[in-house]
Amino acid sequence: MKYLLLAVVVVTLALPPLLPEKQLAVYILLGLAATVTAGVSLLMGYAGQVSLGQAAFYAIGAYAAGLLSVHGVPSLIGLLLAPVIAAVAAVLLGAPLLRLRGHHLAFATLAVQLILLSLLGQGTWAGGAIGLQGIPRLSGLKDDIGYAYVVWAVLAIVLLISRNVVASRAGRALRAAATSETAAAASGVPVGGYRLAVFALSAAFAGLAGGVYAFYLGYLAPGSFPVLLSIEFVVMAVVGGLGTIAGPVVGAAVIVLLVQFLNELGTQPGMPSYAPSVLSYAVYALLLIVAVRYMPKGIVPTARRLASRSSRAAASPSAELLEERA
């Protein structure tokens, strides 16, 4: 397991200089998607709540960083403030909203995103529907390879935080609350407070990714953060495996690369003009349904179980039987 992690680290660090410009953009967007998905996975897997509005916090982070730097704040400070502002927004919104559960919360988060998009589209202070233009690049970063490493570092930090949260006392308490809220509360877990903290943390992840996105593209519009983007993050989290550390990365990688491949396929000569969007919608939908129906734990836990089963089966034939019985 350790060697696998090391190999992934080495390969992903060696990759950016080798990639052509177009693939480098995919690398960066994949890393950003994985960063947001890590938050979604934490929220869904540990707090047991579906958020259909995670792109709202991505947008808040992006606009915060963009607006600050357009108004002369140093870009590094803008980037550092992006997750803070997103987390503060999550606390303010979450205090009333997290009373809701299940489908009520799903619709509430969706409503928050629709309200935000509408406000951004009308607010001249945010560039309106045309968008916010002229965002400077991060100071000291001239080319995309630099951004690839920034994204790598951001994702590494986010995964490290997730891992520590999961392993902590708060993480255990959250797992208990996701199974049975009443039982957890009866055992003295401050369910509401922890739930709000995870909501804020996942928003901070999204906000940080949004900040990088703003500086990388240099241009933001409400149309860059559609409701479908929030659904994509849910798809990535579910496909990769909820509540695992590697799940968001695997889910984001599988979906981004697949959609990228289908985009190439869809823009081949002879294909109808609607082919790329149709193919990507179909992929999101089918992957989500297949994952939920046939692999409800997601890719990472399923693969891990298969791996441990085959290695143990090789060691002693009865181990598998024992596991089945357990």
Partner: protein, 286 residues
């Protein structure tokens, strides 16, 4: 004053559409416990199909009816995927219907393209009490009210409707007396599909549809239905009408840009107040 009356009547027409989408959600949720995220897609599919049938030369009424029937069939298909596998819990089914809603985008774009579509409805302008409004809004109200009355009669007076209500109130007891709960669930999906389709067919002449209009439809429908806790069709009707009238009044008196925000804030407030009143969540017995 005549302006006000005009806004209210237009609002009732728009609200009736929300109420139909909402009642479709209610029909499915009561029986299966699933909040069907693909509910807006039924409306879009029925509306797009009607425009194609009309272009092909079929008369009105026939085209609309065919489209509603197709929407009901689509409803059953969604139901088969969402609840077909025994033991699927409602949370999982919500995610599955979310996936089906996105899948519907792909199908709709292949069949009808990604441009907005509409078709002519009832033409002409009616004058009521000095207010001039498009006659089509009156048609929407005139169709919706009898549909809700029929729905109420169906649930309380017919055997099938009573069986559906029985599944809604206690699945286990319903199964004990010999009701096939899964089949009733699929029937509820068919009903939800037809109601969603009807909403699409009725409102498209005054509000054109694109493949992704389902998000607005489902959010407004959910807002209408959530007033009654997602279980009471009559409250969904009241909620939908209230929502429609509020939106047109806001738009009419100058806040046109903010009508969606107001509807959504209304929905959030209702849900939060409901959650505060019922107190901590009730957990299903395991």
């Amino acid at each position: 004053m005549s302006d006000f009356l005009g806004y209210v009547l237009t609002g009732l027409g728009i609200g009736a559409g929300f109420a139909l989408v909402g009642s479709g959600l209610v029909a499915i949720y009561r029986v299966t416990g699933v909040v069907n995220f693909a509910q807006g897609a039924f409306a879009v599919i029925a509306a797009m199909l009607t425009s194609s049938l009309l272009t092909a030369g079929l008369p009105h009424v026939l085209s609309e009816s065919l489209a509603v029937v197709v929407a009901a069939v689509v409803g059953v298909l969604v139901g088969v995927v969402a609840i077909g596998k025994p033991g699927t819990d409602p949370g999982t089914s919500l995610i599955v219907t979310l996936g089906l809603g996105v899948f519907a985008y792909a199908v709709e774009i292949v069949l009808w393209g990604d441009q907005p579509r509409s078709f002519p409805g009832l033409s002409g302008v009616a004058t009521i009490g000095g207010a001039r409004i498009q006659a089509h809004y009156l048609l929407i109200i005139a169709v919706t009210v009898p549909v809700f009355a029929a729905l109420a009669l169906f649930f309380t007076r017919t055997d099938l409707g009573k069986a559906l209500s029985a599944c809604a109130s206690n699945k286990y007891a319903a199964r004990v007396v010999g009701i096939d709960v899964r089949r009733m669930g699929l029937l509820a999906f068919a009903l939800g599909g037809a109601l969603g389709g009807l909403a699409g067919v009725l409102t498209t002449p005054v509000q054109q549809v694109t493949f992704d209009s389902d998000v607005t439809l489902i959010v407004n429908g959910f807002a209408a239905a959530v007033l009654g806790g997602l279980t009471r069709p009559a409250v969904a009707l009241a909620g939908g009408l209230l929502l429609g009238v509020t939106q047109t009044l806001i738009a009419g008196y100058g806040g046109g840009a903010y009508q969606l925000e107001v509807a959504l804030l209304l929905m959030l407030t209702v849900m939060i107040v409901q959650a505060a009143r019922t107190g901590p969540v009730r957990e299903a017995a395991r």
